[in-house]
Symmetry: C2
Subunit: 150 residues, 2 copies
DNA sequence: GTTAGTGCAAATTTTTTGCATCGGT
DNA sequence: ACCGATGCAAAAAATTTGCACTAAC
């Protein structure tokens, strides 16, 4: 996989720098991470890197198809490794919590869209917003009442 | 519907100002709009409004459940009226184009998630990223082939 | 008349860019 | 040695906030 990065870079006449490897490793390790979190992680490891380089590198890695990003909350893009298992992101609007769900649910949707309008969906980039089970239960009076009666 | 806004505001001890009506109207009229586009639209109409007020008002309208927003592209939240027909947003990563698709596809996914993990998805807030039919055909014949074979 | 809401300008936060220097090839 | 990549600091966006003034109720 480290070779995958080097090859991709060299193939484009670009250079395999430690920063690029470290950013990719950080995205891998963190699972979901904002550019700032990636930067902190790399610096904490031991290496020096600037936030500018993180931005530039994430953009590059995305072009290379090694990472993707999703907008999980207001103005905070989060990056994921392509190698990680595919999953959907469920973002709760009430508590801000994040949970993951199996990507298979998304595949049916993606397949339907491809068949109907030819749009090829990147399931790894799928973020769903709504209300998680806990918040839905807490805030829906009817449901809460039914439960407390039991 | 104008009454819906007034009632919602008065019920909370808030005031029905022309700016609030105009922001809601603008979101309605524009379909998808960033805060800045909303501001321009209101100002073009004839009224004075500041960008600060647009931000504050959009946040308020979202709390009231009259608008929702989705992150269609990097760092640019777009707001939609709740009254508009539900639809999915298909964002092409290659050309940046935006197309809509019927929300019924999303409903199956939403239903599956609700049944499995109790997460209540807001389908209006659903943005899918990928490659549109035109770009898929033009830029990645190999990938398109691989996918259609699957 | 009260008090929430607005506009403006300043403060934050987030992301991009210019340029001299460093380092991979 | 060559030229792409980095770091830093400044610039550009994007969003939030403080405060005096306006206007809805």
């Amino acid at each position: 996989m480290a070779e995958q990065l080097s090859d991709a870079l060299h193939g484009r006449g670009m250079r395999a720098t430690p920063q690029r490897r470290q950013v990719l490793d950080a995205v891998d390790a963190l699972g979901h991470a904002t550019p700032e979190q990636v930067c902190e992680h790399v610096q904490r490891a031991h290496a020096g890197i600037s936030l500018s380089t993180v931005y530039r590198t994430l953009e590059l890695l995305e072009e290379l198809g090694l990472v993707t990003h999703a907008h999980l909350e207001h103005g905070a893009p989060t990056y994921h490794s392509v190698q990680a298992h595919e999953h959907l992101h469920l973002v709760c609007r009430e508590c801000g919590g994040l949970q993951e769900a199996d990507a298979s649910h998304g595949h049916a949707l993606a397949e339907a869209l491809r068949a109907e309008v030819g749009f090829v969906t990147d399931v790894r980039h799928l973020a769903l917003h709504g209300t998680c089970a806990r918040c839905a239960g807490r805030e829906a009076p009817a449901l809460a009442g039914a439960l407390s009666r039991a």
